[in-house]
Amino acid sequence: MTLAPEHAPRMAKLSLAERLEPWMPLLLVPALILAGYLAIASPTSWLTLTVSGLAMGMMIFVIASGMTLVFGLMDVINFGHGAFVSFGAFVGVSVLLMLAHMTGAPSLMLNLAAFALAVLAAMAVTGAMGFAFERVIVRPVYGSHLKQILVTMGGLIVAEQLIHVIWGGEEIFIGRPEMLKGSIEIFGATLERYRLVAVGIGFVLFLGMRAVLRGTKIGLIVRAGVENPEMVQAMGYHIRRVFVLVFVAGSALAGLGGVMWGLYQEMITAHMGMEIMILVFIVVIIGGLGSVEGCFIGALLVGLMQNYTAFLEPKLALVSNIALMVAILMWRPQGMMPVIKAK
């Protein structure tokens, strides 16, 4: 018996076109930015809007990524995901209000430390909530989309009401930490510092998530499980445990998104999670259910579209995103980066 291969191995490479094809949707982002440039005559406004669009897109991505993976992995559609956004925002903002001496100080280190503490608290609470939510609300209704939608919607209502019980009925206004206030000027365009930070955080998270999904065994199990959960099981992995992990991580990320979103709006309400979920749904659908990359591109598109249209014709901001969804689904009915599902 010989160990030598029968013919000399050559590392096969895909042709350029083959490599580019799945990334076609990525080109939509610059295309949309360009279209925005043409539609908005003023370059400085365009730059400002592009940055806020990207910031918004990143935040939507942070919120949507968990939802799309939860769907991909266990075919669970969670309408209650918005509850984690709201809860995260309220917990995070409460912490920030408690740490007023840190957020008010003109020191970037203290500000970031306060922000980090708020984020950690929010993620811990929403992660724990996610664990409970999965166990109590979602687990009994596996396999039935109808019941999942109904029950998770019910869970969302209860969670929203709980926020009212705990924090009172009104919205809370929150100022950004001292050093994240204000804006800088580049090429004559005013760019809010916080938005730039949000873009940074979102991008780092995306890269981190990609690294986990591609470079770790858990990541491989998640990606394989999205495609064919049964085979993952038959290989010896308890996909349920991985699913709970993803659910908790997704909930924590939604909590993080809630804090970011709350500081972006400088105001939080119990209903904010539900409101943002509308954009999240659009993102998840156009990205391709279960696809993190598609979700990222979709979130950027939706964020940009929302900001450009809000500038051009405020009434049509949401309508334009629905139009975007319609257009993309006409092009690719399963979303931009559909996940190949076994069976």
């Binding site: 029950v151 009401q161 009212h164 949401l318």
Partner: protein, 352 residues
């Protein structure tokens, strides 16, 4: 005769039959049995919500599709009437045109959404309807030139349907019959007809195919039914009936606004009633609505009292605050989906 009217779909339970009959009698003679503006309002609201909820049940219970755009269709009917009377002046023709226009718009929207999302994946429907409904709600509150914006629109209806009109000189059966009572009967009769019509639809071969699809879409497709077509048709029928209910609501209320027709709260109410009443039974809409509207009126008062009585305890009074009524409904809703998926009607019929 009764059998024919009910399209052979009998209540199958003495208790349920008695309950339905009681509700029917109460609604039919509401102006005489419960005189007073407030109770007449409640009765008309029950009538309209029965139709609205039943039309939602047609979609959720029979076709197994979750929609969050039902209030949008409801609103289309209501705004149709409002806009038509504003443009065409007061008159029955305006009411008819408005109703028809609202129904037509609802049908077109429903058809497009259904074709678009059901073709791809049935679960997209829930998400897409949520997005579209919010977009429409935003538009309605912002396009104030057409819709009156957040303030809504007052509707002028023919004099015969207003309290100022008095057809008889004296009281009839002890009641001073005025145009408002006539208006109530317009509501009652229209709603009864619409309800019986829907009962007919779900008990027709079409309705049976819908149920077959709900149980197993693949099998239905394999047998040769075009699933997308049937689901789209159910969506359109459901939307049109909802818009008709909206038109009736507008004529009754003589006002339409975003909160009264398009609000998220109303959508949640519909969902709760269908599930608690019993999905896929039609009669669930009747008993569910009656129970829900009555509970809404009395339970809230009770919660207020209980909240005050427990004010010395921590947290409990906040939980019992009447404003938190929705939370208890949410919990009830979740429990219903788990433990009583067939709802009140299922219980009464002794199913599971």
């Amino acid at each position: 005769m009764v059998r024919l009217l009910l399209s052979g779909d009998r209540p199958q339970s003495v208790l349920l039959g008695a309950l339905l009959l009681t509700i029917l009698v109460c609604l039919a003679f509401a102006p005489f049995l419960f005189p007073g503006t407030r109770s007449l309002e409640t009765a008309a609201r029950i009538c309209i919500f029965i139709v609205l909820v039943a039309s939602y049940d047609l979609l959720l219970g029979y076709a197994g599709i979750v929609s969050f755009a039902h209030t949008m269709f409801f609103g289309m009917g209501a705004y149709g009437v409002a806009i038509a009377t504003q443009r065409m002046g007061t008159g029955y023709d305006a009411l008819a045109v408005g109703t028809a226009a609202g129904a037509g718009l609802a049908a077109v929207f429903a058809f497009l959404i259904a074709l678009f999302s059901l073709r791809v994946r049935a679960i997209f429907f829930a998400m897409i309807t949520l997005a579209v409904a919010s977009a429409v709600a935003v538009l309605v509150s912002q396009l104030s030139a057409i819709t009156g914006g957040e303030d809504g629109m007052n509707i002028r209806i023919p004099r015969e349907l207003t309290p100022a009109f008095r057809p008889f000189d004296g009281p009839v059966l002890g009641l001073n019959v005025n145009g408002r009572v006539l208006n109530y009967y317009l509501v009652f009769v229209s709603c009864l007809v619409l309800f019986l019509l829907m009962l007919r639809i779900v008990n027709s071969p079409f309705g049976r195919v819908l149920q077959a699809i709900r149980e197993n879409a693949f099998r239905a497709e394999a047998i040769g039914y075009r699933v997308v077509f049937y689901r789209a048709a159910a969506t359109v029928i459901s939307a049109v009936v909802a818009s008709l209910a909206g038109a009736i609501f507008a004529i009754w209320l003589r006002y339409v606004g975003p909160a009264t027709t398009l609000g998220v709260e109303i959508m949640l109410d519909i969902l709760l009633i269908v599930v608690i009443g019993g999905m896929g039974t039609m009669y669930g809409a009747v008993v569910g609505t009656a129970a829900f509207v009555l509970a809404q009126n009395y339970l809230r008062d009770w919660m207020g009292g209980a909240s005050e009585a427990t004010s010395f305890l921590p947290l409990v009074p906040d939980l019992l605050n009447p404003d938190r009524w929705l939370m208890w409904l949410g919990i009830l809703f979740i429990l219903s989906v788990y433990f009583f998926p067939t709802g009140m009607v299922g219980r009464l019929r002794g199913v599971r």
